[in-house]
C-alpha cells in the first residue's frame, strides 16, 4: 500500500467503514510508515476531541419554559385566530343575516305601503289628493317618489314600526356575524 492510497482511505479507516482485507493492509502500512502513522494519530485525536465536545445543560426549568413558549407561538397563536371551519360557518351566518335583512326590508316596505293603503294615504308622500292604494295595484305610477319628503305623525309611527321590523332579526345577526368575522377588527398578529 502506498502512502497516498493510505491517506485516501484514512477517513473511512477511522470511521470503521473499511472492509477487513483492506483494513489489515492499512494496519500493516501503519507499522512500517512513520508519516502515515503520525497522520493517523492526529486524525484519531481530532475525532475523539470532537466527539467529546459537550454542550452545557440548560436545565429542566429552561426546557419547560421553552416548550411553553414554542406552544404559545404555534398552537396558542393558531387557536386565537378563527379556524377554517369556524370561518366557513361565520360566512354562512353572514349570508343568512344578509338574507334576513333583505326580507326585513321587504316586510317593512310592504307594511308601510299596506298601512298607507288602509289610511288612504301614501306614507312616502303626502299629496292632498292621494288615492286609496290597493296592495295588488302598487306600482311606480301610484307611488310617485319625487313628490313630498316629510312624513306626518301617523306616518312616523308606521315608520317606527317598520324600523323595528327592520331591526329584527337581520341587524343583530348581521352585527354578530360581522364581529365574528373580524370586520373592522385587527387580526391577532403573530408574535415573535
Amino acid at each position: 500500500m502506498t502512502c497516498s492510497h493510505f491517506m485516501a482511505l484514512l477517513d473511512g479507516f477511522i470511521d470503521g467503514e473499511i472492509e477487513t482485507a483492506i483494513s489489515d493492509e492499512m494496519q500493516h502500512h501503519l507499522r512500517e510508515c512513520n508519516d502515515c502513522s503520525n497522520e493517523y494519530a492526529s486524525a484519531l485525536r481530532l475525532k475523539k476531541t470532537l466527539a467529546d465536545m459537550t454542550v452545557p445543560d440548560p436545565g429542566n426549568e429552561y426546557w419547560q419554559e421553552t416548550t411553553d413558549i414554542i406552544m404559545a407561538r404555534t398552537v396558542g397563536a393558531d387557536s386565537s385566530q378563527p379556524h377554517n371551519a369556524e370561518t366557513v360557518s361565520d360566512k354562512r351566518a353572514f349570508v343568512r343575516s344578509m338574507l334576513s335583512l333583505a326580507a326585513s326590508l321587504l316586510i317593512l316596505f310592504t307594511a308601510m305601503l299596506l298601512g298607507a293603503g288602509q289610511d288612504g294615504q301614501s306614507i312616502l308622500l303626502n299629496p292632498p289628493s292621494a288615492e286609496v292604494v290597493h296592495p295588488s295595484s302598487i306600482n311606480q305610477d301610484s307611488v310617485p317618489m319625487q313628490q313630498g319628503v316629510f312624513a306626518p305623525t301617523d306616518d312616523q309611527t308606521r315608520l317606527l314600526r317598520g324600523t323595528l321590523l327592520l331591526a329584527s332579526p337581520g341587524a343583530p345577526g348581521l352585527a354578530t356575524a360581522m364581529a365574528r368575522m373580524g370586520v373592522g377588527v385587527n387580526p391577532t398578529s403573530d408574535k415573535k
Binding site: 486524525a43 426546557w63 404555534t74 398552537v75
Partner: protein, 189 residues
Amino acid sequence: MLKSIPELVNDFIEGDDSAFAELIRRYRDKIYALGYQILGSHLDADDVVQETFVRIYRRRREMASVKYFSTFLIRIATNYSIDLLRKRKSRSALSDDASSLPGHIQLDLARGVPNPSDTFEQKRVMEEIRKALDLLPPKQRLTAILHDIEGYSKSEIAEAFDCPEATVRSNLHIARTKLRKLLKRRKDT
C-alpha cells in the same frame, strides 16, 4: 405505551397538538446541541430551538411527504443556523473588519459558560476547536459538527442536506484536514 416517531408525526399532521408537544420534548435537546455547536452560545441555541419548531409547525402539511422527521428537523435547524451565521458575519463585517480573525472577541463574548464539570485543559481544547470550526465554510463546518460532534451518520446528513453521500464524505474530509492543520498551527505558535 410510548408512541413511535412516525405515529407522533402522523398525529401531528392530523392536528394533534399533544403529539407536537411530545415531538418537541423528544428532539429539543438535539436541536439545542446542534444550535450551540454551530453558533457557540446559549442565546443562539435557544433561538434555533424555538425557530426550528415554529417552522416545523407552520410546515406540518409538508410533513406527509417527508421520509425521516429527524433529518427534516436537522435541515430546518441547520438552514436557520446558517442564516444566523450569515447575519452575524454581515453585522460584524459592518462594525469590524477584523471579524474573520481567529479569536475574534465578539464571538468569544457570544459564547455561553462551558460545562463546569470540564477540566481546564478540556475547556482550552474545546475553545481551540470552536475557533478552528469558525474558520471553516458553512457546509464543511456543519458536516463536521453533525458527523463528528453530534454523531449523525453520513446518510442522515446527505438526506438533511439533500445531497449525495459522496458530497458529505468530501466535505468531511476537507473539514477534518483543515481542522488538523489549524490546530497544529495553533499548537506551534
